[in-house]
Each structure stands twice: as structure tokens, then as C-alpha cells.
Symmetry: C2
């Protein structure tokens, strides 16, 4: 039997469609916006973007299976970052995304929260111990 897959796009040049699909979601763009600046673990992303753990994990997985980011496990934490291969093979797209993030106010607000978090010297352990305190700090209600 011959199966003709008339409508498929072939296998060349990875799965461009999957990449665009992965980029076509607000939450994933917000995550990517952070990862462009620095490697982060799930609990940090979750906190800075104020999203549920399972949602953050799922969106990270989608970005990963489309080849945009990679992950690395360090003891109990999983750190995510933009995949170097993706950057090399899709440099125009990557530059476009980077440029676009600086022109969006929501994404810039997210980066401010990221910077607040990073400057605070809070660690993943502190997130566990008093996440409420960390969130308050990120909102700007508490000085550290």
C-alpha cells in the first residue's frame, strides 16, 4: 500500500510550523522573553510571571519540543535556556524576537520584575520557604 501524505511539509529545516505555533502564545512569549536574558528554573519563571506551576511547566515543554529552548537538571531544579542551535540556525527570527520584546510594555514590565527578583538575592530555597514574601517584594510592597 502506498500512503501519499499530500499535505505534509516534509522534514527539511526542522519544524518551522511548530516553531511559529510555539511562538503564537502570550504565555510562551513571556517565558521566552525572560529566558532570552538568562537561564532560569521553573520555580523562578513561575514566580516572576505569576503563573501556576503546571502551566509554566507545560509551556516550557512546548517551547522545548519545538526546539527553541533546552533544559538541564541541577539537583532538584531544572534550568531552562534558549537553545544555542536554535539561535544559530534561526538568527534572523531570533533577532526579530529580541527586538520585539523591547518594544512591548507588558514584556518590559516582566523584565523589571525579573530584575527585582535577581537583585533581591532571593534564591530558589527562599521561594520555597516564603514565596508570599518574595511575591510581595516583586510587587514592590516590601523593601529588602
Amino acid at each position: 500500500m502506498i500512503i501519499i501524505e499530500y499535505n505534509h511539509m516534509g522534514v527539511d529545516k526542522l519544524n518551522l510550523i511548530e516553531i511559529f505555533k510555539a511562538l503564537g502564545d502570550k504565555n510562551r512569549i513571556r517565558i521566552l522573553n525572560l529566558l532570552i536574558r538568562q537561564e532560569l528554573c521553573v520555580c523562578e519563571i513561575e514566580t516572576v510571571l505569576n503563573m501556576t506551576q503546571s502551566n509554566a511547566s507545560r509551556h516550557l515543554n512546548k517551547l522545548k519540543t519545538s526546539g527553541i529552548i533546552t533544559s538541564e537538571k541541577e539537583s532538584q531544579w531544572v534550568y531552562y535556556k534558549v537553545d544555542n542551535k536554535f539561535i544559530e540556525e534561526n538568527s534572523l527570527l531570533y533577532e526579530f524576537i529580541k527586538n520585539m520584546t523591547v518594544e512591548n510594555t507588558q514584556l518590559q514590565r516582566d523584565l523589571e520584575r525579573l530584575n527585582r527578583y535577581k537583585n533581591s538575592n532571593f534564591t530558589c530555597e527562599q521561594l520555597r520557604e516564603d514565596k508570599r514574601e518574595v511575591l510581595k517584594y516583586l510587587r514592590g510592597n516590601v523593601s529588602k
Copy 2:
């Protein structure tokens, strides 16, 4: 009453998410691949890509509402082309898309069909009169 749209991306820099969503579909990429080379009306796209009229029309509409293409009516035909504003404001993305299309075999096959069609001197009127003949020609079964 104050409505806080906590999760929206703001209105800056058009709707990037919508653009990525529009690009995250095989049929729309195939259409865009053609329009990058030249302005075409719906019946031509429909014929070259061998898709139904309503499907072509819907995908064109999605590309249009996301700001990637524009249309212009000429008598009974509607011609679509890539929006110059889109190209100017998203040049890196546009270059990326163009490059990617030449690396994909399905999309190159589509372009061969487009060229066959254009070289045939078939017109939209002929599509109406004998679409079956035009399709045969595009498949390569008939010489003209």
C-alpha cells in the same frame, strides 16, 4: 468600574502573537510562500495549491487580519499581496520567512506549480471555463 486586563499584551507593536499564530499553519505558509513571489487572486491560489475556495478564502482572511497581507478588488477578482507595511516593520521576520521557504521542498514544489501556471498564460477566465484542464496542465499531464 475598573477592568484590569491582567493578561493582555498591550497594544504596542501590533499584534505579534496574532502574527505568529497566523504563521503557525501549513496552509497559510503555503499561501504566503506564493504571495511573496507575486500578487494573486483567490482563484489562482486555490488552483495552484489545490485547496477549496472557502478554505483559501478563510486562510487569506486570517493572514489579512493579522496584518501580513492586504487585498484589493479589481472588478470581480480580489487580489492579495504581502503588505508593504508588514515588510517594513518586520523586516527581520520577513527575511527569515523568505529564506525558510527556499529550504523547504513542499514549498518549492508549490512554486514550481505557480511558475507552470504563470508560464501557461492561463487567465482567471480560463480557470472558470475549464479548471479541470488547467489542473491537468499544472500536474504536468498536458502540454500547452
